[in-house]
C-alpha cells in the first residue's frame, strides 16, 4: 500500500512516503498521540512504532491494531531520559512525530521532560541516514503577545516569550526550551524538522477544563476575563491531521505552524456552552484591565516579599492568556493543504457529549 502524497508549497505532489516506512510516535498513548497514530493508520502507513512510558493505555493501541490488521503496531516502552531507550526508539525511523512532553508545574521538571527528553531523542537521531523529518509538537503557550494590541492577530511571526522569570510559566518555559533544542539540532546536525504549535486541543478523551484561556478558576469561582475574543481551540482530530501532514509535506523544513481551527468561539460563547452542557457554575465577568491590574499588584507583591506568594499571576501571563487576540491558520492551510475536517460546532457537540457521558458514568 502506498500512502497518499501531499500537495507541497509549490503546488506539486511530493514523492509519497512508502507505506512500510518506519514511523516513530512518542507520546503515542496520550490524548493527541493516540489520534495521530490512528490518522497514520488511516492514511495507509503500516509500520508504526508507538513509544510510551508506561503500559497504561495499551488497550487504545490494541484496539487500533484490531481495526488495521495489516499494519504493524509496535509498542515500545521506555523513558526518553535514558539514551539507550532513545536509541531503541529511534532506530531506523524515517519519520518521527514527537508528542511526548512534560506537563508538571516545576521549571526543572518541565525542562527535563520536554527539553532534555527531546535532546536525548535528537542525539539518537543525529547522523541518521534514514530520517526524513522530525515533527516537533510544541505549544501555543510559548508566544509572547506583550507587544500586540488587543484583538491583533497572533501568528507564527510573533515573538517567543523570553522573559521567563516575569512570565513564571513552567510549562511554556519547558516547551520553549524544547523548541530551542530542536532548532539547534537542525542548525548544527542537519536534522530536518518542523515545529507545530497547537492551541487548546479538545475532544473526546480530554479531561479537565478547556476554559483556561477564558479566565481564572483559582479562588472558588470563575473569573471570566477574555470576553468577546476568540479562544484558540483545535479539535483533536483536526489537530492530529495537521501534525501528520507536517511529516509528509515537502518544502517545509524548519517551518513553524500554529494549529487552530476555523470559526473559533469567543470566550463568552465557550463559557456559555460549557455551562449549558456541563452544568452551571458561578462566574463573574472581570474586565481585562482589572485582571491586568490585579496581576500587576500580585507580581509586585511577589517581588517585594521575595516570593512569599510566587508570581503565579503576573502581567505577561495575564496578557498571554486573556488579553484577547485573533488567530490565523492561513500558513497551515497554504503550506500543508490542511483544512479542519470536523467543523467547530460539530467538534464542540462531540466534546460536550463525551464529557456528559463521562460524568454520567
Amino acid at each position: 500500500m502506498i500512502a497518499a502524497g501531499m500537495q507541497s508549497q509549490d503546488g506539486h505532489m511530493s514523492e509519497p512516503l512508502p507505506a512500510a516506512s518506519p514511523i516513530l510516535v512518542t507520546g503515542s498513548k496520550g490524548f493527541v498521540g493516540s489520534v495521530v497514530v490512528r490518522e497514520l493508520l488511516q492514511r495507509g502507513f503500516t509500520n508504526i512504532r508507538c513509544f510510551a512510558r508506561t503500559p497504561a493505555g495499551n488497550d487504545k493501541l490494541a484496539e487500533l491494531g484490531r481495526k488495521f490488521p495489516a499494519a504493524r503496531l509496535d509498542v515500545v516502552h521506555g523513558n526518553l531520559l535514558l539514551p539507550d531507550d532513545c536509541r531503541r526508539a529511534a532506530d531506523g525511523a524515517v519519520l518521527v512525530y514527537h508528542l511526548a512532553a512534560g506537563t508538571g508545574k516545576s521549571f526543572p521538571g518541565c525542562v527535563l521532560d520536554s527539553a532534555v527528553a527531546t535532546r536525548n531523542l535528537l542525539d539518537a537521531l543525529a547522523g541518521s541516514q534514514t530520517l526524513k523529518r522530525f515533527v516537533n509538537v510544541g505549544s501555543f503557550s510559548v508566544y509572547s503577545n506583550a507587544t500586540l494590541r488587543r484583538g491583533a492577530v497572533l501568528d507564527e511571526s510573533c515573538p517567543v516569550e523570553r522573559a521567563y522569570t516575569a512570565r513564571f510559566d513552567a510549562y511554556a518555559y519547558g516547551k520553549t526550551k524544547q523548541d530551542d533544542v530542536v532548532a539547534e539540532y537542525g542548525a548544527k546536525h542537519g536534522v530536518p524538522y518542523t515545529i507545530l504549535r497547537p492551541g487548546v486541543v479538545f475532544g473526546p478523551g480530554r479531561g479537565g477544563s478547556i476554559l483556561g484561556r477564558c479566565g481564572i478558576d483559582t479562588f472558588g469561582f470563575f473569573m471570566h476575563v477574555t470576553g468577546r475574543f476568540p479562544i484558540p481551540l483545535t479539535y483533536v482530530d483536526n489537530c492530529a491531521q495537521a501534525i501528520v501532514l507536517a511529516g509528509l509535506a515537502e518544502g517545509i523544513d524548519r517551518e513553524v505552524f500554529n494549529i487552530v481551527d476555523d470559526d473559533l468561539p469567543s470566550s463568552s460563547r465557550l463559557l456559555r456552552l460549557t455551562k449549558r452542557n456541563l452544568g452551571r457554575f458561578f462566574s463573574v465577568r472581570v474586565p481585562y484591565p482589572a485582571c491586568l491590574a490585579f496581576s500587576c499588584a500580585w507580581e509586585k507583591y511577589a517581588a517585594w516579599s521575595g516570593n512569599q506568594l510566587p508570581p503565579l499571576f503576573n502581567r505577561r501571563m495575564c496578557a498571554a492568556y486573556h488579553k484577547g487576540n485573533r488567530y490565523s491558520n492561513e500558513k497551515l492551510k497554504r503550506l500543508l493543504g490542511w483544512s479542519p475536517a470536523v467543523p467547530m460546532d460539530e467538534a464542540l457537540r462531540r466534546y460536550f457529549e463525551y464529557r456528559r457521558t463521562a460524568a454520567a458514568s
Binding site: R53, T54, P55, A56, H77, N79, L82, S106, F107, P108, G109, V111, L112, A115, V116, R119, Y164, T165, Y173, K177, V181, S305, G306, N307, Q308
Partner: protein
C-alpha cells in the same frame, strides 16, 4: 560575602536557590549539573553568573565557600568528598547518604578537612518545629519524653504519576535501598531521632505494598510503613509513613510526664496538650473550648507572620541555611548535630533492612535485641 554553589539542578535545587537569594550576606556564585540544559536553566532563571557541567571545573573556577548538594542520594558521598577536598563546606539534601556507614564517612571527612556539613532536614526548622523545640527545652513536657508519634505521609493517589513511577525502574528513588520511602521519611524520622538518646535504639518495622499500588500491578514497591522505635531509658515512638491514608499527615506529637505537644506542618499549628484536666464534666465542656482557642491563636499567628513576610513556603530551608552559614562564619554549632544525622540514617537502615527482608508481614524485633 559567602560564595554558594549548587551541584545538581533538578527540582529541589529551585527551592534551594530561592532561599539562598533571600539571605543577604551570600551570593549564588555558580551551579553545576552534568546535563548542560539543566545547569543552564537554573542559572538563567535565578540568575547565576556561571554554570558548569564538570564538578572539578566548577570547584576550581567558582571556589565556593559552601556547596549545596542536590543530586540523587547515591552520589552524595562521592560528590561531598570532592567538595570537602576542595575546601568547601557542604549542605547535603536529604536523604543524607545511602546508609549510616556513608553518613559517618562523610562527617569524618568533613572533620578531617576542618569543614562543616549539614543535611536538608528543613522540617526541623519550620516555625512550629522551632516553637516546639523551645517549649521542650524549657521543660513544658517534663523530661525525658515518654512517647512520640511521627506521621510523614506522601500522597500517591494520582494513578498517572504512580504508574510512571512504577514503570520507571531506573528512577533513582526506586534504586534506593528503601525505595520510594527512603527519599521521603527522613523528615519524620529525624523528628524522632532528635529526642532519642541511644545511638542504637530498638526498631521494629512493618512494611507492605498498599492495595492501591497492588491494583496498579506493583508487588515490590513498599509504600506503607509502620515503625516502633524504643530505647532503654523508656522513651518510645511510633512512626507512620503512608501513601494512602487521608489526610496525608505531616504531624509530630511528643508526650512527657507532664504535658504533650502536637505540631502539624501542613496547617502550621502547635497545640499544647495539658497533662492535667479540669474537674469532672468541665473537662468535656471546657477543654474543647480551650483547644479551639489554641487553633484560633494559631490562625492569628500565621496571619501575623504572613503580614510580616515571615511565612514563606520553604521557611524551614531559609532558617536552616541561615543557621548553617552562621555556623561557618561565626563558629557557632552546626544547626543539626552530627549525631542526629547519623542516628536518622541508622534508624532508616534498620527499617529498610527489616522491610526488605520480610515485606508484607511483621518481622521479629531488631535493634539492640537483634
Amino acid at each position: 560575602m559567602l560564595k554558594v554553589g549548587i551541584v545538581g539542578c533538578g527540582k529541589i535545587a529551585d527551592a534551594h536557590a530561592e532561599q539562598i537569594r533571600r539571605i543577604p550576606r551570600c551570593e549564588l556564585s555558580g551551579v553545576c549539573d552534568r546535563d548542560p540544559l539543566m545547569a543552564e536553566q537554573l542559572a538563567e532563571r535565578f540568575p547565576v553568573k556561571a554554570w558548569h557541567t564538570d564538578l572539578d571545573q566548577f570547584l576550581e573556577t567558582v571556589r565556593p565557600d559552601v556547596v549545596h548538594i542536590t543530586t540523587p542520594p547515591q552520589s552524595h558521598l562521592p560528590l561531598g568528598l570532592k567538595c570537602l577536598a576542595a575546601g568547601a563546606h557542604i549542605l547535603v539534601e536529604k536523604p543524607f547518604t545511602i546508609d549510616a556507614g556513608e553518613a559517618r564517612a562523610l562527617i569524618d571527612a568533613a572533620d578531617r578537612a576542618g569543614r562543616k556539613v549539614t543535611v536538608g532536614h528543613d522540617g526541623q526548622f519550620s516555625p512550629v518545629a522551632r516553637r516546639m523545640r523551645e517549649m521542650v527545652r524549657r521543660g513544658y513536657i517534663g523530661t525525658p519524653p515518654v512517647h512520640m508519634e511521627s506521621y510523614w505521609c506522601y500522597d500517591l493517589s494520582d494513578p498517572t504519576y504512580a504508574r510512571a513511577l512504577l514503570a520507571d525502574k531506573h528512577h533513582w528513588a526506586r534504586q534506593l535501598p528503601g525505595g520510594l520511602p527512603h527519599n521521603i521519611i527522613n523528615h519524620g524520622v529525624s523528628k524522632v531521632a532528635e529526642f532519642i538518646e541511644s545511638d542504637d535504639p530498638d526498631v521494629v518495622a512493618y512494611g507492605f505494598v498498599s492495595p492501591f499500588l497492588r491494583g496498579l500491578g506493583s508487588t515490590d514497591m513498599v509504600d506503607e510503613l509502620r515503625v516502633i522505635i524504643a530505647e532503654e531509658r523508656g522513651t518510645t515512638a511510633y512512626f507512620t509513613f503512608s501513601t494512602q491514608m487521608r489526610p496525608s499527615l505531616h504531624q509530630f506529637s511528643i508526650y512527657g510526664n507532664r504535658n504533650g505537644i502536637t505540631i502539624d506542618e501542613d496547617r502550621r499549628t502547635l497545640i499544647r496538650l495539658p497533662g492535667t484536666g479540669f474537674k469532672s464534666y468541665a473537662e468535656h465542656f471546657l477543654r474543647p473550648l480551650t483547644i479551639a482557642g489554641q487553633y484560633a491563636r494559631n490562625s492569628a499567628r500565621n496571619v501575623k507572620l504572613f503580614l510580616k513576610n515571615e511565612f514563606h513556603m520553604d521557611d524551614g530551608k531559609y532558617r536552616l541555611f541561615r543557621a548553617f552559614y552562621d555556623s561557618i562564619e561565626h563558629g557557632t554549632p552546626v544547626p543539626i548535630p552530627y549525631r542526629e544525622i547519623v542516628l536518622t540514617t541508622h534508624i532508616m537502615d534498620r527499617i529498610f533492612a527489616q522491610v526488605s527482608a520480610a515485606p508484607g508481614r511483621a518481622p521479629a524485633p531488631s535493634g539492640a535485641t537483634a
